[in-house]
């Protein structure tokens, strides 16, 4: 099932949750909507599910209008951040719910329901919990049951709203690997919302980065990481060193110092220089484009992280850099920093 979103606008009072959003989701892919809170990602997901309606715009499933149909008629499985399991029903009844509420003519027999629920509980590896109530389960178990429940109606689309957001870090990591595997098995078109970049980059085929109700970039995880399309994406994904620079006729100036960097066609005016932390070579004084004094050094694992006050003149600029532990940086050292890769974006 493909999903086609055209010119979606949704406003809550004065707040623009979605601002002319266009998106195409291919059949069978696992897509991540990534963005900070308030970026409109959940609103977009809820509109696709039929739990919210846009002010204007269209949503099509396989070319057919979806907005004219209610949530129950769209055959969409929805998984909520806080699970939303029916607390008065056993795990079994929770999973069976979608089958039991079908019109009598389409409803499977009791035996068929039993078999189907068993299958699904096996799929999420929790068949031994079928008589428990949601309150008796751990967060990770609840979310897997919620997923089984959503899959019971054989949805053509699976939507997950921050599915791991309420779980602790370790369980979250396990579950996202598990979700990836599950998707490889069942191949239903899936969209999940997250504000966790690691989760998006690790799990999804494609990542949609959103900010302030707009889509900033759509691409493969590698693409959005290596070729961020905007300052926002560069800053949001991965750890970057950000320096305020000024571009004048293709020359890049940092403080009072002119850097021998290509301006990458950035328009004249205040701009931002982004360098991935791992793209900086740390050498002795005089070895790099930038130079600075080491202030504090923190060591953990194979790397050491240091605050470096740059020699740029004017106001003090301190950046954080990573260096191999055997570089043995000490406070007071002067280091030369050479960016291997960098990006310059004009300030919006």
């Amino acid at each position: 099932m493909t999903i086609e979103v055209r010119n979606l606008v949704k406003q809550f009072g004065a707040f623009k949750a979605l601002d002319h959003v266009n998106l195409e989701v291919q059949a069978g892919e696992l897509l991540a909507l990534l963005g900070p809170s308030g970026s409109g990602k959940t609103t977009l997901l809820r509109i696709i599910a039929g739990l919210d309606w846009p002010d204007t715009g269209s949503v099509r499933f396989d070319g057919h209008d979806a907005l004219s149909r209610g949530a129950g008629e769209r055959n969409v499985g929805f998984v909520f951040q806080h699970y939303a399991l029916f607390r008065h029903m056993t795990v079994f009844e929770n999973v069976a719910f979608g089958l039991r509420v079908q019109p009598r003519a389409e409803r499977p027999s009791e035996d068929a329901i039993r078999r189907r629920v068993k299958e699904l509980l096996d799929l999420v590896q929790l068949d031994w919990l079928s008589d428990r109530y949601p309150a008796q389960l751990s967060g990770g178990q609840r979310q897997r049951i919620a997923l089984a429940r959503a899959l019971a109606i054989e949805p053509r689309i699976l939507l997950l709203d921050e599915p791991f957001g309420a779980l602790d870090a370790k369980v979250r990591k396990e579950l996202r690997r598990w979700l990836r595997q599950l998707h490889d098995e069942i191949h239903v078109t899936s969209i999940f919302v997250t504000h966790d970049q690691e989760e998006a980059l690790e799990v999804a085929n494609r990542v949609v980065v959103m900010d302030k109700g707009r889509i900033e970039q759509i691409g493969s995880p590698g693409d959005v990481y290596d070729n961020p399309a905007s300052a926002f994406v560069h800053g949001f994904i991965g750890e970057s060193i950000v320096l305020p620079v000024h571009v004048t006729d293709g020359r890049v100036r940092l403080g009072e110092k002119t850097l021998t960097l290509e301006s990458q066609g950035s328009a004249s005016g205040p701009s931002k220089l982004f360098i991935r932390r791992h793209d900086v070579a740390v050498g002795p004084a005089g070895s790099g484009l930038l130079e600075g004094d080491v202030r504090h050094v923190r060591a953990f694992g194979p790397t050491q992280r240091a605050d470096v006050a740059l020699h740029v003149g004017g106001s003090e600029t301190v950046i954080e850099i990573d260096a191999p532990r055997d570089r043995g940086l000490k406070p007071g050292d002067v280091v030369g920093l050479q960016p291997r890769r960098f990006r310059i974006f004009a300030e919006a």
Binding site: L51, G72, H82, H88, F97, G98, A135, R149
Partner: protein, 292 residues
Amino acid sequence: MSTIAIATDHVLPLAQRDARSEPRVLRFLVIAFAITFLSVFVLLPLALVFVTAFAKGVSAYLDALSGSETLSAIALTLTTALISVSANLVFGLLAAWAIAKFEFRGKTLLITLIDLPFSVSPVISGLVFVLLFGTQGLFGAWLQQHDLQILFATPGIVLATTFVTFPFVARELIPLMQEQGTQEEEAAVSLGASGLQTFFRVTVPNIKWGILYGVLLCNARAMGEFGAVSVVSGHIRGETNTMPLLVEILYNEYQLAAAFSVASLLALLALVTLVAKTILEGRLEGHPASDD
């Protein structure tokens, strides 16, 4: 740290008391005061009701209860309670549903209005109905033309009771439903459930103990309501007297045993309500709803 530990070691054996709790005398006094107070102001009157009711023996008690006036009062009270509690159950569910699950203009006003009967004296609640349906009232002339009797008849009593008791169910359900949010309903809808299926399979089971609790309190008040009902009833013997009104009439006529016999039924209702309430409160707290 160590000096402090040494200091307490010295103090403890001398003072002979645990620093974490109050002195034993104080504890005893506070508990004794509470028990005495409760006994004098709650238990004693309650016991007196039953003692006075049975003062002239069991047969007199049963006679008093089986009199035609008493039976009619009991019937009227039960009818009134049945109708007003049902009405308030429907109204309370709808109001709580609207307030908890939707955002709309005037929501705060609606919540305030629901509380109105609690903040207005019952007598005034009764008077409002006199102003509306009395002969000189707003609809008085129209009612007379169509030969409809509301005041000094069962409909008036039911209306007044319904008005006075309508916050109970709504008040109980609003916070419960607000806390539960709309996610379970959304999940049900996205799984293909219709509106009615969602309501009866998801919403109602989640609030059933709250509903029962609200109905119980509503019923206790409906049966015991005096002020508002007194104004609209007209005190027609054997016709428009509810149990609380009958108690007052009998008392004023110095039929103490009879008055207290009827009163004992109301007191019994109160005790049953209390026990049921305690059980329900346990259910409400132990409910998985409080988890998470």
